[in-house]
Symmetry: none
DNA sequence: AATGAATGAGTTTTCATTCAT
DNA sequence: TATGAATGAAAACTCATTCAT
């Protein structure tokens, strides 16, 4: 009578069930992103999803598990997008490939900042809601693999400095892109500027690309010594 | 009935009054940092501060205003630290000066991540709790000013590429340093590594310094085209 | 999540639901009448009604809305009683009809002074809790209509002075009856008599009837000039 | 160290003390009138009076005693006004004297409805805050005495029906005048008219005078039989 | 699975009153 | 007396969760 998760239904109304789960997860994602795990309300999620509150408990168990499932679905989305990008993106010319990836990440994060918010909130709980299901180890991550291939080519061609740690560089991309959007209000206030304005966003995008590309330059690398 | 702030007392018991406010703010800072505005409990803050709960309402009005005051005190701290650093740090040699600043910011954020957590949470509320009191516009910010001076010298000496936007570069520093610590749990999980381990932290610190320094190289800048 | 009112249930448990609302309203009526909106306690109402406090919030929203609903139910009762009286009362002979009405109002108010107390308290809040639902405009009021008919007959028969404003006269009845019961303690003190004593009540009733009837006399009216 | 009341000071600052008491009582009167004993706030009274909250406790003991003192001062005012009116008003011609008294009461109550509100609230507490100090027994009441004299004259002159109970008639005046102002919001709502509008007030005043005068007519009295 | 109602433990806030100087 | 600070009890309201149908 109280099933934890449920992706194995075979009954006729499976369609509806999946719909309920899906719509609740969608609403939960935006609510949790907006207000955090502590600030979001089960009542409100139920209302906005147009389902009875009890349905949430039936399908997800409790609030924490709903958060878990929501996080999971975020990671699934991320993985799917990463895979899709890696499958389509050319590896060469190397510098172009890197630049494309940076721009893609920036744009993706700008568009889907909900996911970022949600994941950032999870850090408050020290990763307690992370499941094995949703995670990909970076070794498997299609984007890191892609970048690794690109770097290999680029280093060989002398376009990219050798010795740069791919995972660290990937984190640089993520960090620079995420930070801008997740701290836009406080930084705007401190800087007394509207960082959400389209031209400010474009300027930041341009800068991040240039910054990251410059750091890959073989000449620069020698300079750092 | 409701005292705003109070830095003009001259009576003997000034110590106690300030103590109450101060200790509450200290506790509030760590509680809000740890659990967020929504997750923190006024009761718990009062308990941990060893004061009567009503004392919090007497001194700060309500939970939101307490959060406001706490944010304020964070910004004051930041300002004070920035000012102190800028006053003491040499401008030349330029590359050393930049490197020092980066390392300083990394270390500061590692040590005082509470403040960062608090400010990041405020973005959830769209800057609603920011007061004019606590803020510094970046034009006045001692660190940005310092960096500006360093860049000027560095550009003249041909050590730093010209045309780099100081504020954007400053944001790069902040972004790279903050991201690592504020997302350490989820990134650790995704990467299947313990990013909190001392050697991982050291490695990241080294990388960030190298990354940022490389991006300043005049040679690299030419490379970006 | 928050059910407004609910008079359309068809399920078997309708009884219970209505019971909860009904019993809460009953208790609320006497508590609010006794202590006023400000003085009544939600906790106490819940206790006396034998329901969980949250049930009150579930059904009524908040204390103010509970007061609103209570007021509403009072006005419904009044309307029902007015309608019942008007339906049964003969219009003629006119003076008898008026006398009956006065006595009925006096007796009703003596018996149901709760309602009066409640409505009087609402004046403190400037009618803020009045809803359209509960109200009857006096033009529709069965008692005023009845009185109008009686006056018409009475005037034609020369038993009642012509030119007397029916609504004003109706207010006279209400005022005289209500004042006695709602100010019984202070007036008793000032007069150093016990106005609540049965014989005092009877004397007042007799006086009010005589007073009002006298004022209707055609002869008296001429006297006023 | 905690004096109950205090009207026997002989120190130099007696002036100030009386001022404090006076201003607190004034503010308390309007606050209690507006919000009732339960709804008024000691904090707010202190604030509006511009005195320290503790001063209220020093001078009046507690909230209930403050209410008591406020009630007291209201009754003192009433007595003073009654005495002044009775001293100045002519007894004859009788009907004019009655009419004047009615109009005076109506106008007084319209102007000083605060006092009425306060006293009406006290009925909620069953006269528990009434002190002997503030009260006058009706036998002493200058207005009732005055009215008694007027009736005597009027009866002798055949202008006023004999056998009318003076105290009952006095209550009629009070009831009709007070009811209008103390129930103006709810009655306005029920009647769908604005009873606070100047012309409505004037109409009511005119009606009340006529109503009461008519009831005194010897001819009418015979009619009542 | 869906729904309305219920519930108990919390959570913020209020308020009269007292303390200490 | 005057004042800022403190305090504990209570009050309104919230919220995750469960019940019963």
């Amino acid at each position: 009578m109280k099933p934890g998760k449920r992706n194995d239904l075979t009954t006729a109304d499976r369609g509806e069930v999946l719909d309920t789960r899906r719509i609740v997860l969608d609403v939960a994602r935006s609510e949790f992103a907006l207000k955090g795990l502590a600030g979001a309300r089960v009542d409100e999620i139920a209302d906005k999803a147009g389902v009875n509150k009890q349905a949430i408990y039936y399908h997800f168990g409790n609030k924490d598990d709903l958060f878990r499932a929501t996080l999971d679905s975020c990671y699934e989305d991320i993985r799917a997008q990463n895979k899709a990008y890696a499958a389509a993106a050319p590896v060469t010319p190397a510098r172009n490939a890197v630049r494309s990836l940076i721009e893609h990440m920036f744009d993706r994060i700008e568009k889907r900042s909900e996911i970022v918010q949600l994941i950032m909130d999870e850090n408050r709980y020290q990763g307690r809601h992370l499941t094995n299901t949703g995670l990909i180890s970076s070794s498997d991550d299609p984007l890191v693999d892609h970048l690794r291939a690109v770097f290999k080519v680029g280093e060989a061609a002398g376009e990219i400095a050798s010795g740069i740690d791919v995972e660290q560089f990937f984190m640089d991309i993520i960090a620079l892109c995420i930070f801008y959007f997740s701290n836009i209000y406080t930084v705007s206030a401190v800087m007394d500027r509207d960082l959400a304005a389209p031209r400010a966003v474009r300027a930041r995008r341009r800068h991040i690309v240039r910054q990251l590309m410059a750091s890959l330059s073989p000449a620069a690398s020698a300079d750092v010594g």
